[in-house]
């Protein structure tokens, strides 16, 4: 197996920090959290590339603090059922949960989560060198704050309930060799993307243009959302009225379907794993989705295209606008071991650990990680900063009803559209009506 320079550098970087950090962490944590030694916490943990890397650090946390950690690992979309059931009990089994951004508003409204500001204000528990201001602003506000405008945007009334960890924005990855072969320039606009998709589909045998998520349910909605925001479309407006039948949303749907038609074979059924693998295995020329591709793309055990991937910011349609999403860590209100849970949350998201996880293929949480010289050598940091700059905190409405809208309305109607079962305009009008029913039932239009 050929080992690339990048992988060797990443391994050395990770090993170096692994050797240096425990001593520092032990000194910092040993006295502050001495009273927590011997406790055990249970963490609900997703199966995800970032968390697969982060998991390797947990034994060091236990060695440094004496707090044992038990992981309840599951597929990320299935975590919500388990979390809701546990957090509904008078005392739950989970001490730390990993939540997906779209669940944060519901969890806070149902009084499931512990507000973190009082914990950070507790000198006996808070790490003195934690530096929350170092957390990437878009992630801190998008993943962590709840209670602001519309219930989920930063602003007056927002409070901190989680720390981003495995947060993400969107990026465009493309095959430099394929683009060079057909004289294509790295896409800056959606017109560039569509042109490249058609050229590759017509001329490169066995390869599709853009790989996307498209499986019925949450995946097809996520795939569609990547195009909705650049065309200035919305799912619901400020009055919570559905806007999925508006011209902008119709245009985004047309473009999404065009990418499916010019994409890899079977793309209309891809979940996220199949979407990313289609690119990594050389079956697609472009990928426009989560930045979680950075790690696997340079891993020769997962990617056949380690040396031929280029990255640019999510292209512009009417505007530059990309995803803001991913995961965060939170402490359930009904946890019996909140102090130990808080220690775990801080330690995992501290600066030293963030650099180590990023160096091994995880996703950065802090500005300092992006500024680290060794991370800059292996991560497309300049592109990443641009992707963060254009990330849209209102990329999807993070309301209680979002899961139902995403999976049972848009997740069905969009799937019918991309598989050719129905036409775009009438189907999106039906979807708008169904969303309106859900919002009415939930009481959004009461006067």
């Amino acid at each position: 197996m050929r080992i690339s320079r990048r992988n060797a550098l990443g391994t050395v970087l990770g090993a170096g920090f692994a050797a240096a950090c425990p001593a520092y962490i032990s000194r910092a944590a040993g006295t502050r959290w001495a009273s927590l030694k011997g406790q055990s916490i249970v963490v609900n943990w997703p199966s995800h590339p970032h968390y697969d890397v982060a998991k390797t650090l947990i034994p060091e946390f236990t060695a440094a603090t004496g707090i044992k950690v038990e992981l309840d690992e599951m597929q990320y979309l299935r975590m919500k059922d388990a979390q809701v059931l546990e957090m509904s009990k008078p005392q739950g089994d989970y001490d730390v949960i990993v939540y997906v951004i779209m669940w944060k508003t519901e969890y806070v409204r149902r009084n499931f989560l512990t507000e973190l500001a009082p914990l950070f204000a507790n000198d006996e528990l808070a790490m003195p060198n934690y530096d929350a201001s170092d957390i990437i602003t878009a992630y801190y506000e998008g993943l962590g704050l709840v209670g602001g405008p519309r219930g989920y945007l930063p602003g007056p009334g927002a409070k901190l309930y989680g720390i981003p960890y495995g947060a993400e924005c969107s990026v465009m990855a493309y095959r430099k060799d394929i683009f060079a072969k057909y004289g294509l320039t790295p896409p800056k606009t959606y017109d560039d993307m569509l042109h490249a998709a058609h050229v590759v589909k017509e001329k490169e045998r066995g390869m599709g243009g853009l790989t996307q998520r498209a499986q019925a349910g949450h995946q097809v909605t996520a795939g569609w959302l990547y195009h909705l925001s650049p065309y200035e479309g919305q799912v619901i407006d400020d009055r919570f009225e559905p806007r999925v039948a508006d011209p902008a949303a119709i245009k985004a749907t047309e473009v999404y379907k065009e990418f499916i038609d010019t994409g890899p074979l079977g793309g209309a059924a891809f979940d996220f794993g199949q979407c990313i693998n289609s690119f990594l295995q050389g079956q697609s020329a472009m990928y426009c989705d989560s930045i979680s591709i950075f790690g696997p793309a340079r891993d020769p055990s997962k990617s056949k295209v380690t040396e031929t991937v280029g990255y640019v910011v999510h292209p512009k349609a009417n505007r530059y606008s990309g995803e803001l999403g991913g995961f965060g860590l939170a402490i359930p209100r009904n946890s019996a071991r909140r102090e130990a849970a808080f220690a775990f949350l801080q330690w995992m998201t501290a600066a030293q650990q963030d650099v180590r996880v990023t160096a091994q293929g995880g996703q950065p949480t802090r500005w300092s990680t992006l500024d680290h010289p060794d991370v800059k050598k292996i991560y497309p940091v300049d592109v990443y900063r641009e992707c963060l700059r254009i990330s849209n905190p209102d990329w999807r409405p993070i309301i209680n009803e979002w899961t139902e809208i995403s999976e049972k309305v848009l997740g069905v109607r969009l799937s019918e559209i991309i598989t050719g079962k129905s036409e775009i305009k009438p189907t999106m009008a039906v979807a708008a009506g169904e969303i309106k029913q859900i919002m009415t039932r939930a009481g959004y239009y009461k006067t």
């Binding site: 059931l85 059924a269 899961t403």
Partner: protein
Amino acid sequence: MSLQRRLTPYVFAAPAVAIMVIGLFYPVVEALRLSFYEVRLGEPISPQAFRGLTIFLEAVQDPSVRDSMAVTLEFSVIVVTLEMVLGVGLALVLEAPIRGMTVLRTLFVLPMMIAPICVGLIWRYMFDVNVGPINGWLSILDLKPAWLAEPGLAFFAICVTDIWQFTPFVFVLALAGLQGLDRSAIEAARIDGASAWQTIVYVKLPLLAPILMITLLMRVIDALRGLEVVYAMTNGGPGLSTELFSLHIYKSAFVTQRMGYSAALSVCLLIVTTALSALLLTRTSPLRRLAR
């Protein structure tokens, strides 16, 4: 007969009945109670949440409920019919005591032993458009269908998977039935000059009918409740083309978190299943025939 002797069978049956009451009837009654309330996952049932029959009315009027029931009925008719034909056919072929039959019978039964969720994952990769072996073989003919990405093909794929998994169930029961048949009737047919085909059609199958009816009943009930395979393979898509009713109930419970509505859907499924079962039982009376 003394009172003690008359009560003895009931005393022996009492523990089993108690377990059934606790393990079966209580959850069903609770689900029925829940179906009259609008309750979210994790919330207790409160009197303010009572909605009565309006939840059932909403379920019946929901087009997606009718669509998923139609898909479920179509799926059940197709897979159960083919499983019965293939299962009985295999049993008739493998009934004869020839060399290696034990090994063959074991192999044919294996699919039934695999957990349904694993079956779903296995066949999801079998039908994968790029790496699946089915398309690997079909590529010889320059064919590469996107099995799970087109509504008709996805429905075909879940049918194939269910038939692969549960034909052995029919095979096992039919084989056991065939081996328990009265050999004198078959001998008499042979002496009377009946051909092999005539013996099967006019002697074996009629004698096997009660067992086949029970097998049919069990397969119909199971097919109507199918969830794991379609969950793993297609998640009900593309669109709603493979959304079986149980999957629709699952999504109502754990996606929309409407536990009361999901309970109402479950009651609807119970009514449909009970009606079909009653129809089969009253038309065929298999238990009465077996008792003769």
